[in-house]
Symmetry: C2
Subunit: 339 residues, 2 copies
C-alpha cells in the first residue's frame, strides 16, 4: 500500500498537493502538469487512500449500519429470502464510497428508547433500514434525526417529509398488472393473495379499482387468500379459486414465492402455463426465475432502490445533515417471462 507521502516524494511535490489532486479539489490550484503527473503516478502504483486515516481526520467512522427488523420468537423468514441480495448490493455501494458496514438485527419487541440508545452508540456514520414495516421505525428515525445521524429507509415508507426513503408503488403495480391482463382480453382475473399482511390493502386496492373502473365489476369475490405460506394452504387457495370461478385463466400473484406451488396446482387442474393460463407475479426476480416456466412478474427494482438510497445517504453524510431528505416511489417495472 503506497501512501500519499511516498507518492509526493516520487512526484517531487508535497503531500498537500497530492491530496488536493487525488480528491479532485484542485480547482485551479494545481498546475495541469503536476496534476497529471500525480494522477499517473497514483494509478501506476495503485494508490488507495487509507480510510482510517481519512476517517480520523474527518471525524467520521466510515462505517454504516444496516438495520434489519426482527425479533427473537419470529424470524423474518419470508422477507429473508432475498435479504442477502440487498445486503450485498448495499455493501457494494458502500464499499465504492469507502465505507464498511455492520449488520444489526433490531429486536422490535424491545423498548424503543433502548433501541435508540443502542443505535446511536454504534457510532456509525449512517443507517440503512431494510424492510421495516413496524411503526417503531418512526421513533428510531426521529431519534437518529435529533442526533443528526443520517438514515434512509429502503423498501418502506414513512409519512414525515423529514425522512429519506424509497419504495415501490404497490398500488400502482397491481393497477398496472390488472390493466395488463384486461388488455390481453381476460374477462376474469383471480388475485391469489399468498402473502397476507404484506401490503395487502394496496394490492387489493389496485386490483379492485381497475376492475371497477374498466369493467365495472366488483372484484372482491375474485380475491383468494392463503393464510399461511405452506404448500397445502396455497394449493387450497388455488382450488378455491378454481371452484369459484371455473373458467378463470388469468392469475395475479401477490408474491413470487408461491409461484412454483401455484403452477403445480394449476397443472393439477389441467392448466399448463402459459398455454392454458396466464400468471403474473410480484416480487424478487431471483425467486421468479426459480420456477418453470419462469414467472412473468413485476420486479422490486432493488438495484435502483439501493442506488437511490445509498446516494441519498452518502450525500447526507457528506453535507453534514443539511442535505434535504429524498423520497422516491418506484413505479411498475414489468418483466415478461415464461408465464
Amino acid at each position: 500500500m503506497i501512501t500519499i507521502r511516498e507518492l509526493s516524494q516520487l512526484a517531487g511535490v508535497s503531500t498537500a498537493t497530492v491530496s488536493l489532486v487525488l480528491n479532485g479539489k484542485d480547482e485551479g490550484r494545481v498546475s495541469p502538469a503536476t496534476r497529471d503527473a500525480i494522477r499517473e503516478l497514483a494509478a501506476k502504483h495503485g494508490y488507495r487512500a487509507n480510510q482510517n486515516a481519512r476517517a480520523l481526520v474527518e471525524g467520521r467512522t466510515y462505517r454504516l449500519a444496516i438495520a434489519v427488523a426482527g425479533n427473537l420468537t419470529q424470524h423474518a423468514i419470508l422477507g429473508q429470502f432475498s435479504l442477502y441480495d440487498r445486503l450485498t448490493m448495499i455493501s457494494a455501494a458502500a464499499h465504492a464510497a469507502g465505507y464498511a458496514i455492520e449488520i444489526v438485527q433490531v429486536d422490535i419487541d424491545r423498548p424503543a428508547v433502548e433501541l435508540c440508545r443502542e443505535l446511536v452508540a454504534m457510532g456509525v456514520d449512517g443507517f440503512v433500514f431494510l424492510e421495516w414495516r413496524d411503526p417503531v421505525i418512526n421513533k428510531l428515525l426521529l431519534s437518529l434525526h435529533t442526533h443528526r445521524i443520517p438514515a434512509v429507509l429502503l423498501e418502506g415508507i414513512v409519512d414525515d417529509p423529514d425522512y429519506t426513503w424509497s419504495d415501490h408503488d404497490v398500488t400502482a403495480i397491481f393497477r398496472d398488472a390488472t390493466q395488463r391482463l384486461i388488455g390481453e382480453g381476460h374477462d376474469k382475473i383471480a388475485l391469489l393473495d399468498c402473502m397476507p399482511g404484506v401490503h395487502t390493502p394496496e394490492k387489493r386496492e389496485g386490483f379492485t379499482d381497475v376492475l371497477k373502473q374498466v369493467r365495472d365489476v366488483d372484484a372482491s369475490s375474485w380475491i383468494f387468500t392463503a393464510t399461511g405460506p405452506s404448500v397445502s394452504e396455497i394449493l387450497d387457495m388455488v382450488d378455491r379459486a378454481m371452484a369459484a370461478m371455473g373458467d378463470v385463466r388469468a392469475f395475479l400473484l401477490t408474491d413470487n414465492l408461491a409461484a412454483d406451488v401455484v403452477i403445480h396446482a394449476l397443472k393439477q387442474h389441467g392448466l399448463e402455463p402459459p398455454r392454458d393460463a396466464r400468471i403474473i407475479g410480484y416480487g424478487d426476480t431471483v425467486i421468479a426465475n426459480r420456477c418453470s416456466p419462469k414467472l412473468s412478474h413485476y420486479a422490486l427494482q432493488i438495484d435502483a432502490q439501493v442506488d437511490f438510497a445509498m446516494d441519498a445517504l452518502l450525500t447526507q453524510i457528506q453535507q453534514g445533515g443539511d442535505a434535504s431528505p429524498r423520497q422516491h416511489r418506484f413505479g411498475p417495472h414489468y418483466i415478461e417471462q415464461g408465464t
Copy 2:
C-alpha cells in the same frame, strides 16, 4: 465520544496509563488504585476506543471481508435462504471485536488469478469464505496465505492442513440419523435426496453404511432423488418412494428446504406425520421451523461454527500470521420436533 486524552485528564494520569489499563496490558505496571479509577471513569463515560485511530497506529484496517461464491448466470439461491443468518452472526462477532465488514460476491467463473488480485486489493485484515464448494477456493486460500492475509472457510473443507476451516461432518450426521431411525424400530427407511449435488456422496454413504452394518441390507434401492427443487419434482420423488417401498414409514430428508412439500406429499398418501410417518431432516433450523408440524432435524450449528471460525480468524490477525491453523468438524446435533 470521550477520548483517551480526556479520560487521562479526568483521572489525573497520562494517556499512556489509560491506554495500558483499557487494553489490559497493565500487568504489574499500573497501581491497582489508578487502574480501578480509570476503569470506573471509562465505564461511567461510556468510553469506546476510536477504531480508526487504533487501526491507523496498528497498521490494520479493522475490516473483514465476507466472500460468497456466486456467478452471473446461476445465483446460489438454494444456499441463499439462510445466508442472511450467517452474515448477521459473522457481523455481530466482528463488531464485538471492533471490526466492520464488507460483503463481496466472488464470480467463480472468472480467472482465479484475477480473483486473487482483487481479493488482496480489498485491503482487509481477513477473509471469511462462506459456503464454498468450488475447488477454486484452494487457489484463493493459497494466494491469501502467501500474502499473509488470514482467512477462514466457514462450512467447507479443504485438504491442506495450512488452512483454517470448520464444517459439519455430513457422513457422521447421516450415520447417526439412520441409526436413530433403526433404533426406533423402523425396518425400512427411505432417503429422500431433494438436493442432489450438495454432499451427495457423504449423505448416501452414511445412510447405506449403517444399514449394511446393522441390518445387512443394501439400501441403495432405498434412495430416491428429485432432480430439481420444484414442487412437482419433490412430489414425484415421494410418489416413487411410496411405490417402491409401500409400507415405509421412516424418511430421511437431505435438506429441510423440501420438508413442507414432503409432508404434503405424505399426507396425500394418507400418512399424517408424526402419527403415521417419521421424518428427519437436515439443514437450517429456521427452515425446519417453517413447516407444520415442525421438522425434527440435524442442525448445522451455524452459531457454533461462526464462533469457532471468527475466533480462529481474529487470533490469526492478532498474532500476525504465525498462529496455527485450526480445523473443526462438527458432529451430529439432533433437534427433536414435531415430526
